[in-house]
Structures are given as C-alpha cells and as structure tokens.
Assembly symmetry: C2
DNA sequence: ATTTATTAATGTAAAATGAACATTTATCCC
DNA sequence: GGGATAAATGTTCATTTTACATTAATAAAT
C-alpha cells in the first residue's frame, strides 16, 4: 500500500493523570521529567506512542514502567495538540485519567520509582500544558462522579461510609449531610455490609462495606445522584 | 531547541461527525473519499493536521473547505489511534462532533460541494473506523442532550415546541408525553414565545419560539433534565 | 354555513424524590 | 462510672416527576 505523500509526520505522546485518595484528601501522582528541557521539573507521567502500539496500550505501558501500576481504571480524557505545546518539537498528547487505590501501590511507588504523591490542592506547577490537563481531569472527575459510581475505584476493598463520604466531600470540596448521604449510598444496593468494624478512626468504630462488584458493573452506566445540586459543583 | 531523537513520527488527522435535523429526522453529513484506497466510498469529512495548526483549527478548516460551513458548535469527541486503523499508513485521528442547522447550509452544500446528508438511521457503511466514530458520537450526543440544551444548535432561529419535541424523540428514538415535555421545556425559561405561528405543519398552527441566547449561554452547563429516565436511553 | 379532520395547547392529582434537621448508640479512656 | 468522640438512624416538608384526556384553532370538504 502506498503512503500519503506530502504530509508532515509528527510526534505523538500520552500523559496520565493519576488520582488517588489517602483516606482524607485527593492526591495526584507526579514524576520528575527525565530529559531536557524542564529536566527535573514536575510532570505528569508521559511517553511516546510507539509504532505498533495503540494509545491505550501506550498509556498503560508508561504507567507500568514509571510506577509499577497496572490494570487500573483509566479512560481517555482529551487530546492536546496546540502546535507549540511542547517547545522541543511538535508533539500531540492524548491525556488519560486514572483512578487508583493509593494504598495498594503506595510503598511500591515510593521505593522502586521516583513518582510522588501530591495533595491535589497543593500540587506544584507542572511543565508544558500539564496544569491544563489536570484542571480538565478534575472537572471531568466531578462531572462523572456526580452520576456514576466511579469513585469506588479510589477506595480499598473494604471501606466505611464515613470514608466514602469524605472522599466525596474531598472531590467536591464541600460537606454533605451524613444522614442523606448514607441513605442515598445504601439505597443503590451497591454496598455489602461486613461484620467487622474499622476502629482506627473512631471509638465507636464504623462498619466496613464491600462493593457488590457484579451490581457495580451492571450499574456503572446508570445515574445515581450521590451529589445534591450538581449544578453548583460541576464546572 | 533540540529534537526528540529516535522517536517515530506519525500522521495526524481530524474527522468531523456532522449532525443535522431536517425537522423530522436526524441526519449525518458524509462525503465521498477522494483518494485511494476506498476511493469514492462514503466517509466522514477529514483531513490532515498541518504543521502550524491546532487540531481544532484543522477541524474547522476541513469543514469549511468541504462544505462551506463555519462557526458552528463543534467539540472534540475522542481520539482514535489503533495502529492499523488506516491501511495506508499509521494515522491517528481526532474525531470532532458538530451540530448544525441543516437549513442554513442545505442548498449550499449540495450545490457547491459533494457532501450529502443521510438519514442517521439509514447511513451507508463508512470507511476505516468511521462507523465506530459515528456510534460514539451518537452515544455522546444522547448523553449530553439529556442534561444540557445542546440540541437547540440543530434548530433554526425560530422553531415550534412540537418541532423541538420531535427532535428529542428522534435523538432518543422514543416518544415523550407532550404535556410533560412542553412544561419542562418552558419551565427552563430558555424560550421566548413569538407572535407568529408555523402553519405548515398543522391546521391550527404552532407558535414559534426563539431561544433566549443570553440565558442559553448562561445555562449551558446547568442540568436541565429534558429527558425522563435518562438511564433507559443513554448507552 | 356546517361538519370533519388534524394537530396544538393546556391542568390536575398521585407518587417519588430530595432536602432539612437532632437524637441515640457504641466504644474508648480516664 | 462518667465523659468524650464519632457512627448510625427517622421524620417531615417541599419539590419534582409522572400519568393521563379534553378543549381550541384552523383548513378542507360537503
């Protein structure tokens, strides 16, 4: 097969916005950029898409290589392609957004790799247009999480309702009524109550719940409305 | 500034999914592919992104060149990058989705260009992964239109409530209760009633309405819920 | 002029959902 | 045993959503 003649070829990259939740605050996983320019500045995890690789595969490869993380919830966010976004050479980048259970990877990331978690509220300035990518990912996360149960991806297998509530409160930077919140959450039927309690965060202790994985997958697309008055918080 | 050495460069294109509404059905604007392979097969409007051009600019340029259309509502949908999606040579394509008032351009498109409108339900098979792009755009349109007043982009300046309702019914391929529908729509305060009636579609005639542009822009992000039980229809 | 056909416009009541609000319960520590 | 702390839980009111049928305006036919 012939080629398309006369067309300029350009570089093509992926960048990953990785969100985590430490039980109290939303966090963002960042790395030091390894090459010049902007070497050692903070950056999203990124890399070039290889010739025989889909962008999704590239994002997963990059994530695994830089953090050891694999098999997490990740989706395409947006493609950034301003001609001058990378001063070295024109590079179009597809941004992917991922949600991970921070505890499952925390030690591994710190020990084996040079990635670091930052409080989302407290993140350093990033290279190129990565700040813009993070902003969009935050917006998108708020948008989606208002209707779909995606935030469970950030929690460990067992979690308590107060933990879940502070996760939502962190994402929307607000407080919810705990009575209404737990009623809503439980009414979805997505949670399975466990016998044990978490005694670390209170004297009384809070019951653990597990996600009903089957129902979770089935309901993933349905509309849940965990967040009252979404208009206020989204965009 | 140095280049990134050792990295392969890739072709980079945009494709536009253009939706229209003829007063009765949803339509899709397609062109004959001009070059081999698959020459003369039906295709989305597409073209390569030039060296000093953002993808958005490229999408607008392509649209204008192939149809004369400009200044319409268009947004980035998704980036398609499977290594083998274009058999000629690896090409990554950003798909853009646009909504236009079909009547504003109908004659012009047919006269000056070789683009053609197809009933969305009746569209021919498209080249490469363009069918996949259209499917995603349909899903996305249903999703967005359930909450945001974007479908007004498909209507002429003056339109009637029955027209608006058949537009929604077309998009969701269902029927709505006309009493509930008009109450919902009018309660948004987005519509300004006109003195004249449209007498073409009924003996009684239906009052024209115009969109309150100011309120439209302000409310664009808010949640309207025109569509009952969105779960049923989305995805 | 009256009838007929066609589609637009409109209201109400019952059900479901969402929001606001405070007290009791379990446990640890002193 | 008393105090401190956070978890768990229920009720009422307001709002929204749904289901459902009749009347009104006009053009065409007789």
């Amino acid at each position: 097969m012939n080629r398309y003649p006369l067309q300029k070829h350009i570089l093509f990259a992926v960048d990953c916005i990785i969100f985590g939740f430490d039980g109290h605050d939303m966090k963002l996983l960042l790395v030091h950029r390894a090459i010049k320019p902007e070497k050692n500045k903070w950056s999203l995890m990124g890399g070039f898409v290889q010739q025989q690789e889909s962008p999704e595969d590239a994002a997963n490869r990059v994530l695994k290589k830089l953090t050891g993380i694999e098999g997490v919830y990740m989706e395409q966010l947006h493609t950034f392609g301003r001609p001058d976004r990378d001063p070295v050479e024109r590079t179009v980048s597809i941004a992917y957004s991922a949600l991970i259970d921070i505890h499952e990877y925390e030690k591994q990331i710190n020990a084996d790799y040079h990635a670091e978690w930052f409080l989302l509220k407290n993140k350093p300035k990033l290279i190129f247009d990565h700040d813009e990518m993070v902003e969009l990912a935050k917006k998108q996360l708020r948008y989606k999480a208002a209707f779909h149960p995606i935030l469970f991806e950030l929690l460990p297998e067992k979690f308590t309702i107060p933990q879940l509530q502070s996760l939502y409160e962190g994402v929307y930077d607000t407080v919810f009524d705990n009575r209404n919140f737990s009623r809503k959450v439980l009414s979805t039927g997505l949670l399975i109550k466990q016998k044990q309690k978490d005694k670390l965060n209170s004297k009384k202790g809070a019951f653990y719940y597990k996600l009903d994985k089957k129902k979770y997958k089935a309901d993933f697309k349905s509309f849940l409305n965990f967040v009252p008055n979404p208009d206020k918080f989204i965009l």
